[in-house]
Subunit: 235 residues, 2 copies
């Protein structure tokens, strides 16, 4: 008996959704589920015979709309989980640093990693960490909205860097088709913070990102603050 | 010490490239590398400090151009591997059913799985199988060009179904953002052959696929028959 682990990808926003389950008890969690792919995810949960226990968001996303609320409607015993301090009315659990959630014999631990947004949480399970937009592969999240702070993100990434070097990193996005990295690689090669970049240089690099706002931000943030409850189903 | 395993994705053709390596000896193989993402893959191989030993193609692709030749140019000790019977002049090894390749302490075994094309090969390593376009997640490859045969594909998939139920399936493509399946799931839920579909029904379903030709077929097939040697570098 082992961990069922299914990384899933949404092409338009390049978002990774992660489905994890205990293959024996069939209890499952899903991390960062996306509105556009909810039928795929519901179908997979049903085919695998899973009982969805937690619907976890690493943060309130600005680039895509969550399927948390529709998933909860479908799997009514599931609890929606967001980090404490997030301005959301729809979460069943507001999780804080060090809190654990269990599914079957597995335990996932919240690690507060603010900076991309003020309510960002990473999740550690065994030799894997789900970093949301805090730490991306060779990059990191932007810090220019939703209470973002490059200064806080520097501390959060240093916190992530205390994990074992071989820990596998599963981010919320990758725009180049990479699916996984590791702590040692990001310490060495991350283009924002790798190779021992100091706080001042990191903040300067983040502030120089010069990105346009996500196309969906004015729809996605309000929608995600109610866990996608106000989005008309697309089937 | 363990297996380094990196699934990589190319968005335009929805192709998965797989990089595998022995974390101790650093010997590596790459399966179905794509022209457009070769700089990403070369960068990753270099950052991880790997010695590329085999550049493996599951088949001569019709939808994208391989980066086999450019990879070999960069990593000159690597050998290009294709299934026997493929009309290619560029392979160093023409592999046949049951042949093994080793990298570090790991062994990967060729399983001939014709049908999508006549030269298709799947590769088994431990509890993983790389199925190319023979068996896709909830689907299978088309059989209407390059010596394709739905009849042969039926036998090939039955052959794949002799693997242990928990074997993880890593296909060459997924168009819905799924990254992995398992033998038992495809036996149960595959929309072409799952649930005990018989040969006649399978052949009928494959013949009813009604797909247009891949946009790149007239460029990709000749290019891949020389392992991408005639493609001008894009950097």
């Amino acid at each position: 008996m082992s961990l069922i682990f299914r990384p899933l990808f949404e092409k338009v926003s390049s978002t990774y959704t992660y489905l994890l389950a205990d293959s024996k008890s069939k209890e499952a969690i899903i991390i960062d589920a996306v509105h556009e792919t909810k039928q795929r995810d519901i179908g997979l949960i049903e085919e695998l015979g899973l009982t969805l226990k937690y619907i976890i968001e690493t943060h309130v996303h600005a680039d895509h709309i969550t399927s948390s609320c529709p998933l909860k409607k479908k799997f009514s015993d599931a609890k929606i989980v967001l980090g404490e301090g997030n301005p959301v009315a729809c979460a069943d659990i507001l999780i804080k640093d060090g809190d654990n959630l269990t599914f079957g014999k597995y335990k996932i631990t919240a690690m507060s990693t603010p900076g991309h947004t003020d309510g960002c949480v990473s999740y550690v399970i065994g030799d894997k960490v789900f970093t949301g937009d805090a730490l991306l592969i060779r990059s990191c999240g932007r810090c220019d909205f939703q209470g973002g702070s490059a200064d806080k993100l520097f501390d959060s990434i240093q916190h992530l860097f205390t994990l074992a070097d071989e820990t596998a990193i599963y981010p919320a996005h990758d725009y180049g088709g990479r699916t996984v990295s590791s702590i040692w690689e990001e310490k060495a090669f991350n283009e924002m913070i790798g190779g021992g970049v100091d706080r001042a240089e990191f903040v300067s690099r983040v502030n120089a990102m010069d990105l346009s706002l996500p196309a969906k931000i004015h729809v996605a943030v309000p929608a995600n603050q109610v866990c996608g409850a106000n989005i008309i189903s697309n089937g």
